[in-house]
Point group: C2
Chain length 538, copies 2
């Protein structure tokens, strides 16, 4: 089968596909936040924006035309499509197995409505969340006696439960996890999957007798998150600790896995694992009778407060994955999380035995499914195959198999990788082995490629000028810092660009380069205490 | 090992267990809706209420002490415990596989917030739900320009999406399913799992080109629900059609699976599958271009409206299961959905080799787990085994294995069924086979027993006097009916008891007894059109 034959094929379908695609696009953008603008701009074949030129439009198109999400009638509220629910369900199974290994984590489910008094109990916590809390104030025709918050996170509804359940050291550690939706009525511009007003996440909450156990779990969970990103989503992350300014509202300290988008030069907080210390324990009175009972002067048992953690990862992970791997053709899905790993497209040339080709496509699918590969056949008879190729590329399916009369003759199929678009002929007898092999290779290549780009993005700087220049070049900046919040505030203010927020600390990586004794803070000139990642962020 | 030995064992632990259980109970009821009353009443060993004597208290205790749920600080909002999330996850996997077989159902996820205008579009629908809708009116410090409803069900947020996605016959059928939480701010008395203000469910929504396809799917889905109840939860159900008075707000007709609780003589709607006809299609303008295009006089394409269904099953199923199988000792879990199917309890007699017994218990657990049985060992050293027996009975674990020194000698274990409390000695070599066999037998026996009780409860009547007497005897009443809503209203009014709601139609079963031509309605004396189940209900 000649290359030109295939290209002709694409050509012959282009007038039809233009019309169809126009319809598709019109359809997809009816619920548009930027309706008119997009209706005009996007009546073209597939993704019109370029990743390098107009990242925000590109990303929005990839999410929508790649069928991860659909916009709803309200800004910041998104509909998850089957490709996204598949990723989320895969991530959930993986996490559940990892938490099982961690030991003692029980899956529970708490109400999503939090009484105002509870929410406001921990002062730093409510200060952090107040601006984005949605309030239920009425039911039916009546005002409620007390308003309820829709959980922005569940510390304040889970910890009264902890207070009641934890009596003695035997009840510790207590670890619960729930898979739920949360609401944060963000005022700033929402971004599909990355920053929405409602999103799904997993949130874990634990209580320990000692600080050491809590500290240890914080890192164990962060490692699980890191594996979720790296092993499943093929997205490399940097593990580290947030600054006091950037930590979770109410936490002693926050650790995070940070991803980085080289195209925009922006960091993105991928998952967080917080040590809450005894802050919530104090406010919610979560204390326990220790193994060796101690008493005060009056003989009353002294009950120590528990040490607590909370940790979460959300559907934002899907957005980070799309930003990382997507290209100008659309979404690129890592095989491990792809709803369909292989799409089989019949290529019926003029005069060919269409029925037999269709049968063979089904046979290929069945063989692959039998080997545990998620495969489908695209049997739509109202689209030419060129249109179908573009459609499945947009949706990010890792492998495409083309099967036409000449493939039949030679007992082979044409296999095309989504990531590299490399084509190869594979004998039918080798198909299962080759496909399974390729899926593994793609998974690894996606990670390696992203990892290489991440590493190339990292720029070590020691002065303010170097810092500014690195930021301008969209680098992930690693700089020596004096660890003072005033400096963070100054840097943010002084690095603001036109329409661009200033840079902030992303994390202080656990893997620290050597810090010479006389190293000065890049921004304040005071003695530096650590190397910290800085950048604009999502 | 003598019977008395084991009983002595129970006896020896009773003083400790009394104290401990008092603590447990106090703990469990701190969040009490009926706090004081229960605190006083329940400071006894385990479940104090009798199923036959005080069903509401019994059920509440079974749910809480059996660790399905914990009460929250708000009436009608419950915390699901791991036993309940396990059942729900099992049901979800089962349903997902069944929907996969049904074909074409895609898992999506829609926002939980519905704009007021959308919710109010279908008039019957909003009339039905208005009294129980919770409204979000504020975010942060600001009033929202338009209030949002927390979804009581998602027709009105999914159908605008259908309108945009459905263009031609090629887009049909469209079937989506989502696993989400919903809120119905019930004013009447909440009952754990059965009637709460927030609950989890699965809701499916589909659109078809023809009424016939919609009608067919309604029943296919109802059959899946019936299997969920009968095969997983071991709860027999009756399939039938709801009366117009009792159908879903906005539906053409509703089919349901109905369960029955013989102890209280009350029916409970277990799952529903609705044909919405074209009611929502009309209001949301969901129309499509048909295969054979028809045009009106002006040449404009006539687009037919789609036919729609919606269907759902909720965590209420867990409550129905608990009501059906539970006894005065507590919860009884069907093996297929039990978080733990087997609990192994070491029985360390005085002077016994405690360490070896513990090792053997672990070995038994490992063997069972290797065979795919969900087993644990209760190694708690602060409870005597009698206390443990009662504790696991309360939690409903299907099989208990006791292992003491004499069992070790004889290379056997003592196996005790939760449902019948029958005890047997099983040789270690036969253990896996016997346990797997017993789990199957228990699953079947639970169903058979419930089925027998259901059948014994059914009472056919033909007159008002017979009807009243059957109701008094807590029967599930099957009566010939003229199918008039006025009669339903009259029956409800005239069958009210002291503190008891009147009887209503539960469903008209698909399996109809023969209706003699001259049969009259039991209530109106008019010619009867069908046999219908009547009863008080949850």
């Amino acid at each position: 089968m000649s290359k030109s034959g295939r290209e002709e094929d694409v050509g012959s379908s282009s007038s039809q596909s233009m019309v169809e695609k126009t319809l598709e696009v019109a359809k997809a953008s009816v619920f548009g936040e930027r309706k008119e603008k997009e209706m005009k701009k996007e009546t073209r074949l597939g993704i019109s924006a370029k990743k390098d030129e107009d990242f925000p439009s590109w990303y929005s198109q990839v999410c929508r035309f790649g069928e991860l999400i659909t916009l709803s009638d309200t800004k910041g509220l998104y509909i998850l499509e089957p490709s996204a629910t598949k990723i989320w369900n895969t991530l959930r199974s993986y996490m559940d197995a990892e938490l099982e290994k961690l030991g003692g984590v029980e899956e529970k489910k708490f109400p999503m409505l939090i009484k105002r008094d509870s929410l406001e109990k921990e002062k730093d916590h409510i200060e952090g969340f107040k601006p984005e809390v949605a309030w239920v104030t009425r039911a039916g025709e009546h005002d409620l006696p007390t308003p309820y918050a829709l959980r922005p996170t569940s510390e304040t509804i889970i910890y009264p439960y902890f207070k009641n359940r934890i009596r003695t050291h035997r009840d510790l550690p207590m670890k619960v996890n729930q898979w739920v939706n949360v609401v944060r009525w963000e005022v700033s511009d929402p971004i599909p999957l990355i920053r929405g007003r409602e999103f799904d996440w997993q949130e874990g909450h634990s209580a320990f007798a000692t600080k050491e156990e809590a500290d240890e779990e914080v890192l164990e969970v962060l490692n699980i998150y890191s594996r979720v990103y790296e092993d499943l989503l093929a997205v490399p992350v940097i593990k580290g600790r947030k600054s006091d300014k950037e930590k979770f509202a109410g936490a002693d300290y926050t650790t995070s896995a940070e991803a980085f988008i080289p195209t925009t030069g922006r960091g993105v907080q991928a998952a967080t694992s917080h040590c809450l210390g005894q802050n919530f324990a104090k406010m919610f009175e979560i204390a326990f009778e220790d193994k060796e009972v101690k008493r005060d002067k009056k003989g009353k048992i002294i009950k120590p407060l528990v040490w607590q953690n909370s940790w979460g990862v959300s559907t934002r992970s899907i957005g980070v994955m799309a930003m990382t791997h997507g290209d100008d053709k659309g979404l690129v899905l890592p095989p491990k999380v792809a709803r369909y790993q292989v799409v089989v497209v019949p290529v019926p040339f003029k005069g060919a035995d269409t029925k037999r080709i269709s049968q063979e496509c089904q046979a290929v699918k069945t063989t692959l499914q039998g080997a545990g590969v998620r495969a489908i056949v695209d049997e739509r008879d109202n689209y030419a195959c060129g249109w179908k190729y573009a459609d499945w590329e947009m949706k990010g399916v890792p492998l495409r198999i083309e099967l036409g009369p000449r493939d039949l003759e030679k007992n082979q199929v044409r296999v095309v990788r989504r990531d590299t678009r490399v084509k190869m002929d594979v004998l039918r007898v080798d198909l299962v082995e080759k496909v399974k092999d390729l899926l593994e290779v793609i998974q690894r290549d996606l990670y390696d490629d992203a990892k290489r780009k991440l590493e190339e993005s990292i720029q070590k700087v020691e002065t303010w000028d170097e810092f500014k220049e690195a930021l301008r070049q969209k680098k992930l900046v690693l700089a020596p810092w004096c660890d003072e919040v005033e400096v963070e505030n100054d840097v943010k203010e002084n690095s603001k660009g036109e329409n661009e927020a200033g840079a902030k600390t992303l994390c202080t990586p656990f893997e620290q380069p050597e810090l010479r004794e006389d190293t000065l803070c890049f921004a304040s000139g005071k003695p530096a205490k650590k190397w910290t990642y800085w950048g604009r962020s999502y």
